[in-house]
Symmetry: C2
């Protein structure tokens, strides 16, 4: 049985909200919950229903200051603020505060492990707290923990379809024979694509996930950031390219690849019946191993409850 | 980093031999190695190359008595003798000896956890040693540890193609339009099927794996054994059934399903492009979860190094 942990959840978007909603179902309590402008803290466990209702109706989770959540008496900080690049603040400073207090950190925010991996590992080395980040790569799919179990030294490469929005657009373009702009508008109507879809369709999001995987594979021998990634998005893929591919039994997917030598993300031709040709918003990762052949892991790569499930899995793996 | 462990490996078939061969590569030493008639023991670590060469040339691993291996000073007993049904001996007695000495046990042998799960958990409760058994289900694929990370209570069902021999035969029947007997002969020539293929083609092997998954999902609330499984093999699947399925865009796979309510294994119609329609000797498992949707895990379901990789992953997860 997993030990019950007291969680402080920072970030009240789809993932943070789902962690708060599901924590009790995984045997944990939430003692603090913050969005960017407010917080609610209770050492005996906050009333999660009330906090989530207030967020939905009033736009804030409580009356406290967000900093109160970071100062609360928690075992694990769940960092679920939006991913930022460069110095990765405020996520990175939240992580630092927790580790300096010898608390564990579980990240849903990709910034700290994509942009400042060496700094994260340095802080972890001086702390009794540990850092886990399964939710940053592939949503519900247990990729980081599988690499950990295999031991990174036995994994030679990770390759996959890691952005559901881009994959939805390519799948629809292929199925309906329509152009990028039309499918993008449809995806935005459905809520699958954001109003500003740049992060997804330019390949940045997939690249960040591959950067994280390259950092895990490298075990600190070399640090990767987004600057090390060769990235091409899907905005220049014409419908005609998908038609030509289909005539040859193939399709196009936005494929990312991470090894200890580097990171590449771009549109690639793949056979229509290949494992990489997942459709819709599903993600897949293929791990190439030295002794165990190729492992394929696929599932839902995004979504509040799905990503929260990865966060809570990480919490369960902490001592 | 994984702590280095001293292993005693009992069983010198493809899996036991591969564990001995690869242990050092995973940072562990082998202090004892036994087959059914002999053993070699050395507290400083046996000479693994010599033992494997002797097994290949002379048919035994050393000059000692097999019981010497069980009495050796090891941290982890790797039980890789052939799976037996009913009382699951000698695998079960090896496991009991190790647990009574407060040592860990990693099973490649399905017998103890398929036929005597409650007894195994009872012995484990009274021991400082833990029992792990990733290698018993799906070879290299991390199925048991993924269920563990998700927490069994959040997994509602496990379904999959779990026998490579049966899958190879069905794949070849469909691809070549030939009958069961002809493909079986070919599979035996290739070493994919045993001289006596009963265990694989009658569904017993797949059922044992599903029994183990049902036991994991049930968390001790209910014990399953092979007797609880509804099992039908592939020996009565005519080539014409595969032809009819193909006309409808489908194929036939030997699918096993495990829930907290029971176990069913039998030939099922699946769409040709569905995840379950893996070809050749690959295995796949689909986990249905309450919050994370469906996770698909696929890879090599058998083979010495592949299964040894799962064994050594289990060793790495022990404290």
């Amino acid at each position: 049985m997993t030990d019950s942990k007291r969680l402080a959840v920072v970030g009240a978007g789809a993932v943070g909200g789902s962690v708060v909603e599901l924590a009790a179902d995984y045997g944990h309590s939430v003692v603090a919950f913050a969005d960017s402008s407010s917080a609610v803290v209770d050492d005996d466990g906050i009333d999660t229903g009330t906090a989530l209702d207030r967020k939905a109706s009033e736009g804030h989770v409580g009356d406290g200051d967000p900093q109160d959540a970071l100062a609360a008496d928690y075992d694990v900080l769940v960092e679920a603020t939006p991913t930022t690049l460069g110095d990765a603040h405020p996520g990175f400073s939240h992580l630092r505060t927790a580790l300096e207090r010898d608390r564990h950190v579980v990240l849903a925010n990709k910034g700290p492990v994509a942009e400042r991996y060496a700094d994260v590992r340095d802080l972890e080395r001086d702390s009794q707290g540990r850092v886990r980040f399964e939710a940053t790569v592939g949503g519900a799919i247990p990729i980081v923990s599988t690499v950990e179990d295999l031991s990174p030294s036995h994994v030679t490469a990770a390759r996959g379809v890691l952005n559901g929005t881009a994959n939805f657009i390519l799948s629809r373009m292929a199925a309906e024979g329509i152009d990028y702009e039309h499918v993008l508008a449809e995806a935005q109507d459905l809520g699958v694509a954001e109003a500003d879809p740049t992060f997804d369709v330019e390949g940045t999001d997939a690249a960040l996930k591959c950067v994280i995987l390259a950092n895990v594979l490298s075990e600190g021998e070399r640090e990767f950031t987004l600057e090390d990634a060769e990235v091409e998005g899907i905005t220049n893929v014409p419908g005609s390219a998908l038609e030509l591919a289909a005539e040859d039994g193939r399709t196009i997917r936005l494929v990312g690849e991470a090894t200890r030598d580097g990171i590449r993300v771009g549109p690639r031709l793949v056979p229509q019946n290949a494992a990489l040709a997942v459709t819709g918003t599903r993600n897949i990762v293929q791990l190439e191993t030295d002794h165990a052949g190729q492992l394929n892991l696929s599932g839902r790569g995004a979504g509040g409850p799905e990503t929260a499930s990865a966060v809570l899995g990480d919490v369960g793996r902490l001592e």
